[in-house]
């Protein structure tokens, strides 16, 4: 999670993202289509959910951004189903100095007590 939420994309592109909203799954993220993407990503994260939410979130995103955009968002979500299992399955961890640098991100993302913190 921290690899993706703490890189320098935001500062380099002049974009500010509210990590608290990302962590909570609600609120103003601060980027275009943030609400729709947050809803879509939340639905895509739970493969066991058989409610209508995945379909509703998909339709909402495709309606405002187009089907190609939605497909690419699904591909990114799929990538992190893959990468999270890679990271946790192989015991991936950060060097200690990097963790120090990411302290504020760890706090903002509500990750201080995660079991997968190594």
């Amino acid at each position: 999670m921290l690899s993706w939420s703490s890189n320098d994309t935001g500062t380099t592109t002049g974009t500010s993202v509210d990590l608290g909203a990302v962590a909570a799954g609600s609120g103003a993220v601060g980027i275009p289509l943030g609400d729709e993407l947050l809803r879509f990503a939340s639905a895509a994260a739970d493969l066991r959910d058989v409610s209508a939410e995945m379909g509703d979130a998909r339709d909402a995103l495709a309606e405002v951004a187009g089907p190609e955009f939605m497909v690419d968002a699904a591909a990114v979500a799929a990538n992190f189903h893959m990468m999270t299992r890679l990271a946790d399955g192989t015991g991936a961890r950060y060097p200690a100095p990097r963790l120090d640098d990411m302290a504020s991100t760890i706090s903002a993302m509500g990750a201080t007590e995660m079991v997968s913190r190594r």
Partner: protein, 222 residues
Amino acid sequence: MDVRLDLVAAHRQAWDALGRPGTWFTGHQRVELAATAVRAMCDEHALAPWIAPSTVDGWLGDDLVTPSAAHDATYRIAAHAGTLSEPWYREMSGELGDLAYVEVVAIACTVAAVVAFRRAAGLEPWELPRPVDGEPSRLVPAGLVGATLNWVRVTSPADAVAAVVQAFTSVPDEHQRLWMLADAQYIPNLEMVDPRWTRGTLSRPQMELVAARVSKLRECFF
């Protein structure tokens, strides 16, 4: 629904490889483990993290061609990756062999990528491939060493790159497949340094938003 041809090709290549002999498992074994991964990810009534499928009557079939420990490891990685611990890894790698364990993780990763994509995009799930006969290669790369940034061994020099980048280097075929999938699903490796890179759809901040939210809900600290 139109899907980019490079993405379809990457998924098809990785999915079909589940049915071919791997490095430590036969094609029949890989398909069997992939089926366990699919069930682990999608079953509404998941087992608790501390319950191994092999301890539940009837969960695994009676005619397995793969050791039950490999199914237990596949299940835990597929269903509850955020709960894994180093002692659990030591136990599993001791039973399976540490390089075979890496292949188990890779099978779960391939299944996760394709299953999650097709569900999110509203596409029909794919049937698992038919197994192809043949023996695993049992290829051991030269210069494997312990790592500080991973539990698993990696090719030397250890820890010269990020933990996720070196994680599968002990099983080169899986390493290649994983990064082929990442290139098509997320960002081509050569473009990673460009924070403004886009396929013309999501911007990098929008991609990072999806990545961070999925990873947060999957309770992955990394």
